[in-house]
Amino acid sequence: MSENLKFVPHATCTFCGCVCDDMDLTVDMDEKRITKAENACVLGKAWFREHGIEQRPYALIGGREATTAEGVEEAAQILARARFPLIYGLSDTTCEAQRVAVAIADMIGGTVDTTTSVCHGPSGIAFETVGESTASLGEIKNRADMVVFWGGNPAEAHPRLFSRYAVTPKGMYIPNGRKDRTVVLVDVRRTMSTPVADIFLRVKPRSDFEVLWALRALVKGRRVDPSIERRTGVSLAVLEDLVARMKSCRYGAFLFGMGLTMTRGRHFNSGALLALTTDLNEFTHWVAKPVRGHGNVTGADNVVSWQTGFPFGVNFSRGYPRFNPGEFTTVDLLARGETDAILILASDPAANFPKAAIEHLKRIPVISLDPKTTLTSQLARVAFTTATYGINVGGTVYRMDDVAITLRPAFESPYPSDEEILSAIRDRVRALLGGNRVPAVAPAVAAAS
């Protein structure tokens, strides 16, 4: 270790949606490496430790080394030519880069979709159906005397959700921290998170909806069939007890994970939880919060929403934004083979999409932007190496509770940022198209979904 150390206080970890901004980093400036990340959880420590500078080509075109500029030209040509281009990912980069990504999609008449569609997209659909009572994480810290974790494993995926925001911290009206809260955990299996709970409800797989629906009925004083126990593994008596506690707490909070969204029922599972939250407000204050994965997936939701009116899966091919999950979302467009070019921004769908979608990725020109080699970058026509946001690149990220935070990069990277590459692509595409592409067809508003 060299003597050339730099101390970067108040830095922000973008590994997960907690976006903790209390990282005090020590950087070895000679080795371009973060040697210490105070306050970081196990995931944060790995995030900061492992994102050093790797020796990689600036760009690869068809597997051949190229300059960033050559990559930009190739990418711009692909995007300008494509009839149904898709821009996907966005959740592990800054809002500044996301804004450019949406601008490109708008200009070329493409589609923009984020990793939200395969994470809490269903919760987004649920939000559009029932709304949501929610709060910034500080309100949960300061006020929540009952916290219910549903379908998630924060101990392994969001460790500081427990320690910084929702379980152990002392808050304004929670002077004794953990002792002042009732913690409930609902999951289909025991996990590392289970021990934190006062009450653990193990529900049978794929029965969350039934449990939530029964809770809604009980909150409203309606009848629930006793078969609920056989079907969900949770007895009516247990549910009644839970409802009594929920109605009598002062400030309750649900924090729910992809155990709801990725299983059969999808948006209805999240919707049931959001509706239950609304129902409970008839009796006392309740909020709910989807626990988000990627560091700036919440920023992606926000940027896409303010620029288009819709949170993800937005298509511009007719000259204006349209939203329709299943029609304009990435898994669907790929699995149906409808998209003819894709720019993947800081995401690795080749590693987690269904087989049918990955097979189409192999058939079309892929442009990837990523600090690291990924399965996706390996099959890309154009693969850019980028600087890592939060470590090498400043900008804005949104915490899972919509709080925007400014990054404090620790050291410079020789690689350009996503924003720089995207801006260059945007400018080049604009030159190729002579401005925004305007399809000469009147809006078909009646059929505009």
Binding site: H10, D21, D22, C95, R99, F127, E128, T129, V130, G131, E132, S133, A135, S136, L137, G138, E139, K141, N142, R143, Y165, K170, G171, M172, R250, Y251, T278, N281, F283, H285, V287, D301, V303, S305, W306, Q307, T308, G309, F310, P311, F316, R318, Y320, P321, R322, T396, Y398, D402, V403, A404, I405, T406, R408, G434, G435, N436, V438, P443, V445, A448
Partner: protein, 556 residues
């Protein structure tokens, strides 16, 4: 900056400079109104047209966390109102909460060049600024929500008034806000901490604090006056939307005691007691409110008129949104912000046959028609709460065209109309008065000396409308819109894109106040103090409007 321009032959309405419909030239140089323009300046022949300063919206909700939630929650409201891109402008969607680009272009498309987002939590400031950055053409700013701020309450409760004032200045400055905003003071603590309760009078105790709304409001008026802000405290009163709230509103207005204070969307706070057999149907309180404002030059207000049709209730007044959710259909959004605010959102439709909605519509019009000083009772619909800003041209016509108003009156709930004073009012607004309530007045109330007027040195934000007896049509689509001297809209079409400025204030404070604030952050916020202040990158084009601090406790 734009090139030079000379607008000739137009009838000019520039009330700030006493110009009332004179045909005269308006010259523009380097983005400002000039005494003359070079001979090679582009000429716009405005014969048969009306030339006005660009519109200034003193109160709307167009950017920030709550606006984005309201956008996201209503995809069905965007589908039928798309905003296609052009070669030079971005696409977007409309509905009652348009996307940022559509917001900017549509304001410009109505001839508005400045708009103030009226409620942003300090914690949401960075977000609001990002959205405002993506809101093209117009200049913009926002009011920061401070009226339920826990630390400020603590300072006020402990009588630490100087620290209170410094902390207020700090909050305004570090968030790059334009003015302090109070929303339902005291309500959030009851909402969040006491099982969704609410404040019902100025003398209610605010939860665990030894404070009342009366004390809080007075404290803010005092502190803001001392800071000498260009726009004073901007208040959304307690009991908003409730039958009989006119008493609370008048009591709150009296708290100003001669100091400048602005009352937001007073229509929603001008309801008399219940009438007839109903326990809830309000009567009109417009006359009492208008009289108070007429006779108190320190008081200003924007109307917050209600226009029938689809709207979105979005407010820092969370208990109000909760109450309205029973009328709104299936969706309700609530969003608590730590130590700072609450927020509620409900999609809503005002129906002309519904008593209460018709009364709200009538009260808004009454307030306009009873106002004797258009400079202090200015134009707003509290977009999108009372209706979208795209309804402004219709509202203008309702004010300018008695026959149109009468025809519309015939279609609304007649019982409500009977209990309002609208039938007795035959006044019609002149173009000069419209220019005051939509431009010169709001600019003056905001302390924006270079806006809302066409004197030499003013910002060259100019709108040119083709004269038309149908005022709704006339104000719906200006022929030309000039922003900062640049011809943005020509022959009704966008020629170029444009990025406006952020308008904000930066009141001085004693840096020692940070030693008071920081420990509170470490205990009760989930973001580090060091990461809270918004830096200049979020306002790449901005203008700081100066303050004029006064000695503490000074009275005008």
């Amino acid at each position: 900056m734009g090139s030079s321009l000379r607008i000739v032959n137009g009838r000019v309405y520039d009330p700030a400079n006493g110009v009332d419909g004179e045909v005269r030239d308006v010259c523009i140089r380097d983005g400002k109104i000039a005494a003359d323009a070079p001979p090679d300046a582009k000429r716009i022949d405005a014969a048969g047209m009306v030339v006005m300063p660009g519109g200034v919206d003193i109160h709307c909700h167009i950017a920030g966390p709550k606006v984005n939630l309201a956008r996201k929650v209503q995809p069905e409201d965007h589908r039928y109102d798309v905003h296609p891109r052009t070669r030079v402008t971005r696409s977007g969607t409309g509905g009652s909460v348009p996307s940022t680009f559509a917001t900017g272009y549509r304001y410009a498309g109505l001839g508005y060049t400045t708009a103030m987002e009226a409620a942003v939590t300090p914690l949401g400031a960075r977000h609001a600024l990002e959205e405002l950055h993506d809101t093209p053409v117009i200049d913009k700013g926002f009011y920061v929500l401070v009226g339920n701020n826990v630390l400020l309450y603590r300072l006020l409760q402990e009588g630490r008034l100087e620290e209170f004032r410094n902390a207020l200045a700090w909050w305004i400055k570090v968030t790059k806000a334009y003015a302090p905003k109070l929303v339902n003071p005291g309500g959030d603590e009851l909402w969040k901490g006491q099982r969704n309760a609410n404040i019902t009078s100025l003398d209610d105790k605010i939860g665990p604090f030894e404070l009342t709304p009366r004390k809080v409001i007075a404290g803010f008026i005092e502190a803001a006056t001392a800071l000498g802000l260009p726009h004073p405290v901007h208040i959304h009163c307690n009991n908003l939307g409730h039958t009989g709230n006119v008493a609370t509103t008048l009591e709150t207005m009296r708290l100003a005691e001669g100091r400048r204070t602005h009352f937001a969307h007073v229509q929603f706070n001008s309801y008399g007691p219940a009438a007839g057999k109903s326990q809830t149907n309000p009567t009109s309180g417009a006359r009492e409110i208008a009289e108070f404002v007429n006779t108190h030059p320190n008081i200003s207000a924007d109307v917050g008129a209600v226009m029938f049709g689809r709207s979105t209730i979005m407010t820092g007044d969370a208990p109000l949104a909760y109450m309205l959710r029973q009328f709104g259909g299936t969706k309700w959004v609530n969003a608590d912000t730590e130590n700072e605010s609450g927020c509620g959102i409900v999609p809503f439709t005002y129906q002309d046959r519904v008593y209460t909605n018709a009364m709200q519509w009538a009260v808004g019009l009454e307030l306009f028609l009873l106002s004797q000083d258009p400079w202090r009772m200015v134009f707003s619909t509290d977009h999108p709460n009372g209706g979208s800003f795209v309804t402004y041209p219709r509202l203008i016509r309702l004010l300018m065209d008695r026959e149109f108003r009468k025809a519309r009156m015939a279609e609304v709930n007649q019982k409500a109309l009977d209990r309002s004073g609208l039938r007795d009012l035959s006044r019609e607004y002149s173009l000069n008065e419209i220019a005051i309530v939509t431009r010169a007045g709001p600019a003056r109330l905001l302390g924006l000396t270079r806006k809302g007027q066409l004197g030499v040195g003013a910002d060259a934000d100019v709108t040119i409308y083709e004269e038309d007896p149908d005022k709704e049509k006339m104000f719906s689509a200006p022929r030309y819109v000039i922003k900062d001297g640049e011809l943005i809209i020509e022959d009704h079409e966008f020629r170029v894109d444009h990025e406006g400025r952020l308008l904000h204030v930066a009141p001085d404070f004693d840096p020692g106040i940070e030693q008071v604030i920081e420990p509170f952050f470490e205990d009760f916020y989930t973001i580090r103090f060091a990461n809270y202040a918004v830096d200049d990158r979020y306002a790449p084009h901005h203008e700081i409007i100066p303050t004029a601090p006064q000695a503490a406790g000074a009275r005008p």
